[in-house]
């Protein structure tokens, strides 16, 4: 088991390095000058050149890369070129809203998608199943911001059940939190619910065709026990895997959702950083989301090994 974790960690290292290379090249090979963004409209050439010098942008690229990577390894992400605040601090400020939003959305997703997927698989081919499939295809096909606007229009502006924008942390009290964060969480989870309900259904149908399910039924177990005690646990692996690979999807949803609902999270920081050409911030965000993706998938592999004794004992 420990050997397994160690091997997986080791194989993740080159991936992280490649992420760093991509992040650096993407930002530095593209045209665009952060000095101009700092100076603003109406700035003169002289002012811009001075700013560029002070940011080290006049150094050769390899030098900039090595400098950056060295400090990165030491945990130093550098300083924002625009606001002159340490990048780590900027990111930390924005982490909570995004994590809270993502977790809330994930909770909604799992509470909805898994039972719905199980139901669809159990009633495979019947109208419930078709309805679930249809809803999931629609869920895939609606742009996130349209879902957001529709929800705001219906439940925010018209019915006034929920807040139209902003962020409340769970620390502000449960009701303010639910009042403010429910619409964004639903918006963010829609695509995810579609994906995971579908995956759960497919995975469950496959497992329900397995011999051991027939064995379980032959033992006289109730359907509930067969579905949840035997089938779902075996179906869980592909579902969990989708949660991991869907992480990238969630990030894109977060970027849009945070814009629509004005939540001061990582997603909006990403857009601001890119539009402001804040190189250190963009790089740090790309590397961090990349590493997070790798880490989440690593955890999922480990979780997979824990649920499945066939891996655990090999």
């Amino acid at each position: 088991m420990y050997g397994f974790i160690f091997r997986r960690l080791l194989s993740a290292l080159p991936v992280v390095f490649i992420i760093a290379v991509i992040a650096f090249l993407l930002v530095h090979l593209a045209p665009g000058d952060p000095a101009v963004a700092i100076a603003g409209d109406g700035a003169s050439d002289d002012q811009i050149a001075a700013i560029r010098r002070s940011l080290g942008l006049d150094q050769p690229l390899p030098v900039q890369f090595v400098t950056w990577l060295t400090s990165l390894v030491q945990g130093d992400f550098g300083t924002s070129m625009i606001s002159r605040i340490p990048v780590s601090q900027l990111i930390l400020q924005r982490t909570e809203p995004t994590v809270v939003l993502a977790l809330y959305a994930m909770t909604i997703t799992l509470l909805v998608a898994v039972p719905v997927g199980v139901l669809a698989a159990w009633k495979s081919g019947e109208w419930v199943d078709r309805l679930v499939l249809a809803m999931s295809v629609i869920g895939f096909s609606m742009p996130v911001f349209v879902i957001g606007y529709l929800l705001i229009g219906a439940f925010g502006t018209n019915l006034r059940w929920f807040a139209v924008q902003g962020y409340k942390s769970p620390g502000d009290g449960l009701i303010p939190f639910l009042y403010t964060m429910t619409l964004p969480a639903i918006t963010l989870s829609t695509t995810y619910i579609a994906l995971i309900a579908r995956m759960t259904r497919a995975s469950m149908i496959e497992i329900l065709g397995e011999d051991f399910i027939r064995t379980a039924r032959a033992k006289g177990l109730q359907e509930r026990q067969v579905l949840f005690g035997h089938a779902l646990r075996n179906a869980a692996v592909p579902i969990i895997t989708v949660i991991g690979s869907g992480f990238a999807m969630m990030i894109s949803g977060v970027v849009i959702t945070e814009s629509v609902f004005n939540i001061p999270g990582i997603g909006r920081l990403v857009v601001d950083a890119v539009l402001g050409r804040d190189y250190p911030l963009i790089q740090a965000l790309i590397v961090l989301t990349g590493v997070l993706y790798v880490a989440i998938n690593l955890l999922i592999d480990i979780a997979y090994a824990i649920t499945d004794p066939r891996i655990r004992y090999s």
Binding site: S124, G125, E210, D211, F212, R214, T215, A216, R217, A218, K219, G220, L221, Q222, Q225, G229, H230, R233, N234, T307, D308, P309, R310, Y313, S314
Partner: protein, 550 residues
């Protein structure tokens, strides 16, 4: 066969009356038609039949486990102790399962939940059907596991299915099925996936427990040998109907139906025919000191050690052994699909073990292969013609000539030339295996390696393919390396046999010598374990029925 529904006798546990099943969606295609039989307590009824005969559907219908979306019962009744299970509510049916009737399945690998300890899986039966306390349940689980003779039942209970051998898993299944002493045990091909020696143990275990608990057993099998070993009564099924029904002695010794006779006649005899004369001294294949070591996860596994044999032109050499004995690895090494770790490989006089890539490609035409599963050895996306001429085209033969040859060879294996324009899925399994044999012949090889080439086929088709292979050897003089786990098949086709166990050759001699005077205990055990030893004379009596047209 009486079709009238009569109240079952007091001792009758299961009484199936006029059972009919059709497909549920689309046109109702009949799957079972008017199936009737009885089983009394302590007795074993065998349902025997080839694939598609409806024997498994009968058992699933009894358990109420038919897939509702696909199959539905359209008539008849199934009485379990006077209670018609077809009328039982789903809740009642669940109560009956495991407590009054239980079932074990063919694949012990997949029939157990891989994520649950086997002890827990046995315990589930007790959880649902009894009010026992946790401690009592655990004791019952251990008792059930020791009753099926699993060593260290306490330890076994904590293991996961993948940590057990196939035989042990099937024992767990039996323990689970019999934990509540049900009146009826349904065993659906429970030993088909097991080696012969394990099969023998499982069969005797079932018999032992049946005697102990007076259980009625419905045993489903395609293997006539198993039938003669365990059945009291036999039902022969074919295409959803009962063909013949009666006490085992009657059905085996005096079958009245042609189909039963054909089945019996198809069983290869364990007694080999008289040896053929050696017609040529030429060696087609010579293997010496063959070794193959794999490194899964870094640890060396010596799959094959020091295997040597000689195969003369026009001869058939069998390699027999149980699963894991290394016989297939030998075949793959001979084909150079795996590079041997050590040893020499001489085909028609030239050593091929160390050939370069291009030289190897040129060599390949001299040695061809027939694979086990005819469903997967033909590319489903390519027409038979494309598949057949692929080899010659690779070696630069003109297309027209290759097509002509393909047509001839198809004819040789008993298929019309228009088969060339079709796709593999349009043929039955036996036909596909014929095509695979014809394909192997396209390059005029010196040697054909047949790896379990008849194992996946029904017994009647198997007999035909064996005959075809012998015929081809006769006509073309090709040498055949025949890999099989089935001693009966080997007895019928091989000139010489080598027996392998755990990667080494334990015995090597002429076929007759190996089967009639086995020198090694392992060989003796194998022969001993082969079911239905007394079938040989029966089988020979009905040999002529093998070629009945269906």
């Amino acid at each position: 066969m009486s079709a009238d529904i009569v109240s079952a006798a007091a001792s009758t546990v299961l009484s199936v009356r006029d059972l009919s099943v059709t497909t549920a969606s689309g046109a109702a295609v009949p799957i079972l038609q008017g199936v009737s039989f009885d089983i009394r307590a302590g007795q074993t009824l065998c349902i025997v039949g080839e694939s598609g005969s409806g024997k498994s559907v009968t058992s699933l219908a009894t358990m109420g486990l038919l897939p509702k979306a696909e199959l539905s019962v359209t008539g008849g009744a199934i009485f379990l102790d006077d209670e018609n299970v077809l009328d039982a509510s789903p809740a009642r049916l669940r109560r009956l399962r495991a407590s009054r009737m239980s079932m074990i399945f063919q694949e012990p690998m997949t029939a157990l939940n891989p994520l649950m300890t086997v002890g827990r899986q046995v315990e589930e039966v007790l959880c649902y059907h009894t009010d026992l306390q946790a401690g009592e349940r655990r004791a019952r689980v251990i008792a059930a596991l020791s009753e099926v003779h699993l060593p260290n039942p306490e330890d076994m209970a904590l293991r996961y299915p993948h940590q057990l051998s196939g035989g042990q898993r099937q024992r767990v299944m039996i323990a689970m099925a019999l934990a509540l002493n049900p009146r009826l045990l349904i065993a659906d091909e429970p030993t088909t996936a097991l080696d012969v020696s394990t099969q023998r143990q499982i069969l005797s275990l079932i018999k032992e427990l049946q005697r102990k608990h007076e259980t009625a057993v419905l045993f489903i099998t395609h293997d006539m040998g198993v039938v003669t070993d365990i059945a009291d009564n036999v039902v022969v099924m074919r295409k959803g109907r009962v063909v013949e029904h009666g006490p085992v002695a009657n059905v085996i010794q005096a079958p009245t139906e042609r189909y039963t006779r054909k089945l019996l006649g198809s069983i290869p005899s364990l007694v080999p025919p008289m040896p053929r004369e050696i017609v040529s001294e030429r060696l087609a294949l010579e293997v010496a000191g063959l070794e193959k070591t794999f490194f899964p996860g870094g640890n060396p596994v010596r799959a094959v050690q020091d295997v040597s044999f000689k195969l003369g032109t026009g001869r058939i050499l069998g390699i027999v052994g149980e699963s894991g004995s290394g016989k297939s690895t030998v075949a793959r090494c001979v084909m150079l699909l795996e590079r041997p770790t050590a040893g020499s490989l001489v085909v028609a006089g030239s050593d091929v073990a160390g050939l370069s890539r291009e030289a190897l490609r040129m060599h390949r035409r001299r040695i061809q292969m027939v694979f086990q599963d005819p469903n997967r050895s033909l590319n489903p996306r390519r027409k038979i013609a494309q598949t057949m001429i692929e080899g010659p085209l690779n070696y630069g033969a003109p297309k027209a000539e290759s097509l002509r040859k393909a047509a001839e060879l198809l004819e040789l294996v008993g298929l019309p030339a228009e088969a060339l324009s079709r796709y593999p899925h349009q043929f039955s399994g036996g036909q596909r295996q014929r095509i695979a044999i014809a394909r192997a012949l396209m390059l005029d090889p010196e040697v054909i390696v047949a790896d379990e080439a008849v194992s996946a086929l029904d017994v009647s088709v198997q007999a035909q393919v064996i005959r075809l292979l012998k015929d081809i050897r006769e006509r073309l003089g090709v040498a055949l390396l025949f890999i099989t786990h089935d001693l009966r098949v080997a007895a019928q086709i091989c000139d010489d046999i080598i027996v392998m166990q755990r990667g080494v050759v334990v015995e090597s001699n002429t076929c007759r010598a190996v089967l009639t005077q086995p020198a090694h205990t392992y060989t003796r055990d194998l022969i001993e374990a082969a079911p239905g030893r007394d079938l040989d004379q029966v089988s020979r009596r009905w040999e002529s029925y093998v070629h009945d047209i269906d």
